[in-house]
């Protein structure tokens, strides 16, 4: 039995290491389509399920399941699952706000992602194993970045899930002005991954001997370059905060001035990212920028009563004047009166308006309808672009409270390693803690906890961070 447990542990370690690389690298090709949504089950879901299944067997065979269940973090995780189930039950049978199979699958997604955390904590037992995973992750980051550059400069294929048609697994190419997504199927997801990456790399940089630092500089620089190419403002901001936290917690305050200068230079250097930041201030903050007024009275009336289910004016006389399309192509074809004419400003304007007027009110309405349990997973459509509001809307105060308990416990545990005498452990835990904060900041404008690739990686990384607590205390004993 001991031998079997030993081999199972080894197998699980290599399977987990493989998952660390497979999730970011394998494009989002659908495997099994689900009726009623364009989110599909993919190979990585099966891989993670297999790993979790084997891990549960390992817990039983190694007789560690009792300690596992007594653990506060495990209890918080299971409380979160229990409330998720109660909320799903209430959504199906009481509020009637979900399609049962979709809600249940969304619930299972959360289980799948979060269980990766205890899995990694249990499986990674030696410093050598931590280093192996870090090396695999570094190679993965390199591959992700090189592929992103390939999409931009060599026209390498793009797999995207940004709409229902693309999510069927179509092979696309980047249009001029489009943003790279590498293997992440969405530029926001790639940017979140890079924000996590840069934060951890900054911490690891200080832990390494000088001869290895060049590798980290190259990886970090490449990641930063690709992050700028994604032009994702929120992730850039999260990266800045994440790196600043690393410098503060690792007591490297002399680097802060250098870091501030670098940030200012990046923001001043002409790029899509800079243009989008300027547009944010122009359009969202000061409400400036030239606006489209509409060509006809019909357009102006419709823009005031913008209900997509109502009849559209289609008479032959009005057809030519009702279309919003600009024959010259200088103005977006789907622009409506009141929107900015400049295409960058238009993108920034819509990005915020869709959150402010559609997604966030929808989540708030769900929360008002059932403040204690929410209206269930999948009840507020596929995106809310704010994880706190999404959580309150879907699982209410109870579910959100349980999720916060998980983060508090994880944060407290990682924080304990800040005093470790082992430099790598100490700085890696600083990196993971700062990454967690940066990730949650990203969650204020993007659904990071539901975006499958980055969410899985997030829980894997937290698991690795918690594993350092175990490694650090066993070393210091």
């Amino acid at each position: 039995m001991i031998k079997l447990t030993f081999f199972l542990n080894k197998f699980l370690f290599w399977l987990t290491t493989f998952i660390f690389a497979f999730i970011p690298l394998y494009p989002k090709f659908p495997l099994i389509n689900i009726k009623g949504t364009f989110v599909a089950i993919r190979i990585e879901d099966l891989l993670i399920t297999a790993a979790i299944f084997l891990w549960l067997i390992y817990l039983i065979l190694s007789n560690t399941w009792k300690d596992f269940i007594k653990d506060k973090l495990t209890q918080a995780i299971f409380l979160f699952f229990f409330i998720g189930l109660v909320s799903t039950f209430s959504a199906i049978f009481l509020t009637h706000t979900v399609t049962p199979h979709l809600s249940f699958l969304h619930f299972l997604r959360r289980v799948e992602f979060i269980l990766l955390l205890p899995l990694v904590v249990t499986i990674v037992k030696k410093k050598k194993e931590l280093i192996i995973i870090l090396i695999v992750l570094s190679l993965t980051i390199l591959a992700v970045n090189l592929y992103a550059l390939g999409q931009q400069y060599l026209s390498l294929p793009v797999i995207s899930t940004t709409n229902s048609e693309f999510s069927k697994g179509l092979i696309l190419r980047l249009n001029p002005g489009a943003r790279v997504n590498s293997t992440f199927a969405g530029h926001y997801d790639l940017a979140v991954f890079l924000a996590m990456t840069i934060t951890i790399l900054t911490a690891v940089f200080f832990a390494l001997k000088k001869r290895f630092r060049l590798i980290v500089i190259i990886l970090g620089g490449l990641s930063l370059f690709v992050l700028i190419m994604t032009a994702a403002r929120q992730s850039f901001l999260a990266t800045v905060i994440g790196v600043a936290l690393v410098l503060i917690f690792s007591n490297k305050k002399k680097y802060i001035f250098l870091f501030v200068v670098a940030t200012v230079v990046i923001l001043l250097y002409p790029s899509q990212l800079r243009d989008r930041f300027i547009s944010t201030i122009t359009v969202n903050v000061f409400n400036l920028g030239q606006r489209y007024t509409g060509k006809t009275q019909d357009q102006q009336i419709r823009s005031k009563l913008n209900i997509p289910t109502l009849a559209v004016k289609t008479s032959s006389q009005s057809a030519s004047t009702s279309a919003f399309a600009s024959p010259s192509g200088a103005i977006a074809t789907d622009i409506t009166p009141g929107e900015p004419i400049d295409t960058t400003q238009l993108g920034v304007y819509r990005s915020f308006e869709i959150r402010l007027n559609i997604e966030w009110p929808r989540a708030i309405a769900a929360f008002i309808k059932n403040p204690i349990l929410g209206t269930g997973y999948s009840s507020i459509d596929i995106a809310t672009d704010n994880d706190l509001l999404r959580s309150l809307g879907e699982v209410g105060l109870l579910g959100t409270g349980a999720l916060i308990l998980i983060f508090i416990e994880v944060g407290k545990r990682i924080f304990r390693v800040f005093n470790s005498k082992n430099k790598l452990m100490r700085l890696f835990s600083v990196g993971v803690f700062s990454m967690m904060i940066a990730f949650l900041i990203n969650g204020l404008f993007i659904d990071v906890l539901e975006a499958s690739k980055v969410a899985s990686l997030f829980w894997l990384m937290l698991g690795l961070g918690l594993a350092t607590l175990k490694l650090s205390s066993s070393k210091e004993r």
């Binding site: 229990f82 409330i83 209430s90 509020t95 009336i301 289910t309 008002i368 349990l373 308990l405 508090i408």
Partner: protein, 183 residues
């Protein structure tokens, strides 16, 4: 703390199981209206009814607001949620025309959606291209109001209450351990 939990939990159970409306026919018809017999407004979809009238949103929603509270016999009114009109395709039924959709809800109990299709302003001027009046039995009306009631089942409510009470209990004990202990 135990005392507060027992009080809260008992009050929640009473609130959830308190008798209220159980079907759409419990609600009053709109004043001075003609009940729709069109397909989809009668028996095809459960708990739906619709009325043609000259009542506009300003009077329709308050009418059902007070009707719902009276039927629920509760000392406080339902919550009022304003939904985007296109949500009527989900909340009422597909292809429901809509210019407003409001939900009146008693959380953890039941809710009624009030959907209005008003092609004209109350002044009589059209709101959009193609606006026409509704002609029913030689009478013409300016608005159509469609209601859909989502009732709840006592057994389901009991299980949800049980789930909530257990969750609060677990969260209280675990929260204390996580927030206040340093081990």
């Amino acid at each position: 703390m135990k005392f507060f939990f027992i009080i809260f939990s008992s009050l929640l159970l009473v609130y959830m199981l308190w008798p209220g409306p159980s079907k759409i026919s419990d609600f009053k018809p709109l004043p001075l209206s003609d009940k729709s017999n069109l397909e989809g407004d009668t028996t095809q979809i459960p708990n739906v009814s619709a009325y043609f009238s000259n009542n506009f949103r300003e009077s329709v929603v308050p009418f059902y607001f007070s009707n719902y509270q009276n039927l629920s016999h509760l000392p406080f009114p339902p919550l009022q949620i304003n939904h985007p009109p296109e949500y009527s395709w989900i909340a009422i039924k597909k292809h429901t025309d809509s210019t407003y959709l409001e939900e009146l809800v008693y959380p953890l109990r039941d809710s009624i959606y009030v959907n209005g299709f008003e092609p004209f302003y109350s002044s009589g001027s059209p709101k959009f291209w193609g606006a026409t009046v509704f002609v029913v039995k030689d009478k013409s009306w300016f608005t159509k109001t469609t209601l859909r009631f989502y009732p709840s089942n006592l057994v389901i409510k009991f299980f949800v209450w049980l789930g909530i009470s257990l969750s609060i209990l677990f969260m209280y004990h675990l929260g204390r351990k996580i927030i206040f202990s340093n081990d």
